[in-house]
């Protein structure tokens, strides 16, 4: 049975590593719903967050293949219940003399969103939340005429104690001589 998994990958900062990782999904015809890359809490270590919809069995196999890549330090996979996660969405709406501004502001408030900026005739609204929530706001704002919409990839942290720092210590202990070429 397919379900949403968040795959979190800690890596060295190496050019091209993202290609190596994404091609493992391509090979098995797994669609990447979203991907984000950022620094992690450890200096010099990058963190990828990839969201897919797949069976548990296949996800575990791909995670192992990701971990096998030479510059990958560790990969984890989580169900939605195991993580706290969210995405950011931005909405651009053109203000015209006909726009019911009060109704618009009411909608923004009701959805826990806020006005990020007013640029000329345009208003940019920002909403942080789960996909269903940012999507619900999209629906709600549609009657006002959405001129632009963008949603970020997922950021997520697991609800459990992170085993990565212990893992990193072990990795560093087994390698006496660290060579990093970037």
């Amino acid at each position: 049975m397919k379900q949403i998994f968040t795959i979190v990958i800690f890596t060295e900062n190496k050019i091209g590593l993202v290609n190596r990782i994404t091609s493992l999904f391509t090979q098995r015809h797994i669609n990447i719903e979203s991907i984000t890359a950022s620094e992690s809490e450890y200096s010099g270590i990058h963190r990828f967050t990839i969201v897919i919809e797949e069976s548990h069995d296949l996800t575990v196999k791909v995670v192992k293949q990701i971990e096998k890549q030479v510059e990958v330090l560790k990969a984890f996979c989580f169900t939605d219940q195991e993580t706290v996660y969210s995405e950011i969405a931005l909405y651009k709406i053109q203000l015209t003399p006909d726009t019911d501004k009060e109704a618009l502001m009411e909608m923004v408030r009701k959805n826990d969103a806020f006005v990020k900026e007013l640029v000329g005739d345009f208003i940019i609204i920002e909403k942080t939340g789960k996909k269903q929530e940012t999507h619900a706001l999209f629906e709600a704002l549609s009657p006002f005429g959405i001129q632009g919409f963008v949603r970020s990839g997922r950021v997520s942290l697991s609800k459990t104690y992170s085993t990565f720092s212990k893992h990193l210590q072990d990795l560093e202990a087994h390698s006496k001589d660290t060579i990093i070429i970037s």
């Binding site: 091209g16 290609n19 091609s23 575990v60 196999k61 192992k64 560093e172 001589d177 660290t178 060579i179």
Partner: protein, 570 residues
């Protein structure tokens, strides 16, 4: 080599540093082909011809397959040079082959100057992206000072854990630029753990299953050879009395006439080893990865058995076959521990089941293949004759197709690292250059290349390299004037519609002679033995063409998608 000790620091070019780094890793032979973007490295090589022998092949694909042959027989990484663009892209097939068959290679490609990267410069290809899927690791170097470290890391990655090919792409300006040369071998880095510690609890759990088993069965693959665990494998099966069967790449890890060696697994493997996979109670897989050519239909594969998997690559565990006990680690160390925990045992009745099925296979398939009564020559009898001449001491290199299956089924091996073939990728054209590389790595050994008339013509240009190096490879072309294996499938599964599989061949003997290689052709049984003798007696390379039955089929066969127990004898 005192010139390259640890303390030694000197200012040299990136090109020379490349050569010195290779020498520091113990490289004494490199296979390659020059061109614009790698000329500085070739120029540096000119000054080290005594220390580093360069084999100029006739195509980069030839160079990389030769390096694979070199690596497979010597256990040392093969080293390859190629230029940018077409030189680099010509390596791709060999990289993919080495990746899937876990062969350690270090490939060095030249690249356009760093200022030109991304501009579609002359002979620029993004070989890093192109080779990503086909390498264990790759890196582009744009600064001379990064060269020694990159090479150190490359050798470490290629040869440790599950071995594989790596590629270093060096821009031309980095080859020309100077650096303060200092070489330090790589002994590890944090994101890569090639030697996982073995969990003794797992070993105990496995031993418990094995000790209780009535019908235990060992399947071994190339992991045994790569871990230098041949002795441990023999000790393990001898102590426990467990019958053992091999994958195509595991062949020769246990002598073919070892009493517990029950034969070959897979699509064209032996009858008993396939059928009894579905009757054993404990399956012990050592250094093999349950390839689909071995397992057939996974839904009907060893479902009754408890599965133990000894494997170095965590991604292989539970990938195709669900294990009951997985022992992650080096095969040698794992087997050693397992031997300690397993009781001495015998499984006479179980072994008899293999013998019974082997007798059936002998009557239905093997007898007529090895000692045919029909007029035409069979591939099997050619291999039997070759065995008689070599006594099982030769290295047998095969290409891909019917001749490959027949050679692997019937060749006799006494020693490990004697069978070289393209297993996972099934690369036609692999054999001739791989045999050349094997012979250059082990000149003291007899090296036989068994090739089909189709595959021979895929890398036929390497006859030129064999001529130039005088590497005494004995080439046997099994000529059925067909792309035999494809024709067999057409006959069995496509209603005999022989679409584009018939070959009208050139005169192979004349071609060999044109390359300065002694050659002859034989088409009758009477002449076979003599022709073979002439070939082995000849001092130097030799090509023997044997005209075999045009439409013979290789049996037994597990049809694609069928279960191992549905193996067909005819």
């Amino acid at each position: 080599m005192e010139a390259i000790t640890k303390e030694d620091k000197k200012v040299i070019t990136g090109a020379e540093a490349t050569i010195l780094s290779l020498l520091a890793e113990g490289t004494d032979m490199v296979f390659g082909y020059p061109g614009g973007a790698i000329m500085p490295i070739y120029d540096a090589l000119y000054g080290y011809q005594k220390e580093l022998r360069h084999i100029l092949t006739r195509h980069e694909q030839g160079a990389i397959h030769a390096a694979q042959g070199f690596a497979r027989i010597s256990g040392r990484p093969g080293v390859v040079f190629a230029t940018s663009g077409p030189g680099a892209t010509n390596l791709i097939t060999g990289l993919a082959d080495a990746k899937i068959d876990s062969t350690p290679l270090v490939c060095i490609t030249g690249q356009v100057a760093s200022s030109l990267l991304g501009t579609d410069a002359f002979q620029e290809t993004d070989i890093i992206s192109l080779s990503m899927q086909a390498t264990k690791w790759n890196i582009q170097i744009t600064k001379a000072e990064d060269i020694p470290q990159a090479i150190a890391k490359a050798f470490y990655i290629a040869t440790s854990g599950r071995p594989g090919p790596v590629l270093i792409d060096i821009t031309k300006d980095a080859q020309f630029a100077s650096l303060n040369y200092e070489y330090r071998k790589c002994t590890g880095f944090r994101s890569y753990n090639p030697k996982p510690a073995i969990d003794t609890e797992k070993v105990k759990a496995a031993a418990e299953l094995i000790n209780k088993a009535k019908k235990p069965y060992v399947l071994f693959g190339q992991g045994v050879i790569l871990a230098h665990a041949e002795k441990e494998l023999a000790n393990f099966v001898e102590k426990t009395g467990i019958p053992a069967a091999w994958t195509l790449l595991g062949l020769s890890a246990l002598p073919t006439d070892h009493p517990l060696n029950v034969g070959m697994l897979g699509m064209h493997g032996n009858y008993g080893p396939n059928k009894l996979t579905n009757e054993c109670d404990v399956l012990i897989a050592v250094g093999m990865r349950f390839d689909d050519r071995v397992t057939g239909d996974l839904n009907r594969y060893a479902k009754q058995a408890k599965v133990i998997h000894l494997e170095i690559d965590p991604a292989e565990i539970d990938k195709n076959v669900q294990t009951n006990v997985a022992i992650l680690g080096d095969a040698k160390a794992s087997l050693k521990l397992l031997i300690e925990h397993c009781h001495a045992n015998e499984h006479t009745e179980w072994l008899e089941e293999f013998e019974k099925l082997s007798a059936i296979e002998y009557d239905k398939v093997i007898a007529s293949e090895l000692n045919p009564s029909k007029l035409g020559l069979t591939m099997g009898e050619v291999i039997r004759r070759a065995n008689e001449h070599t006594n099982g001491d030769a290295v047998v290199v095969t290409d891909v197709g019917q001749h490959q299956m027949v050679a692997c089924r019937y060749a006799k091996f006494n020693k490990s690292k004697s069978n070289i073939t393209s297993g996972g990728l099934g690369t036609m054209g692999f054999c001739l250059p791989a045999a050349l590389g094997a012979k250059l790595a082990a000149p003291e050994r007899e090296v036989i290349a068994v090739i089909g008339d189709g595959g021979f013509q895929m890398t036929i240009q390497e006859l030129g390299t064999i001529f130039q190096t005088r590497a005494a490879v004995k080439i046997i072309i099994l000529n059925n004037e067909f792309l035999g294996m494809v024709r067999q499938w057409q006959q069995l599964f496509f209603d005999k519609r022989y679409s584009s599989t018939e070959l009208v061949n050139p005169d192979f003997v004349a071609i060999a002679k044109g390359f300065g290689i002694e050659a002859s052709s034989v088409s009758e049984r009477d002449g076979l033995d003599n022709a073979m003798k002439q070939m082995f007696d000849h001092d130097g390379p030799y090509l023997l063409e044997v005209m075999v039955e045009k439409e013979d089929n290789v049996f037994p066969m597990v049809p694609s998608g069928a279960s191992v127990e549905d193996i067909r004898l005819e």
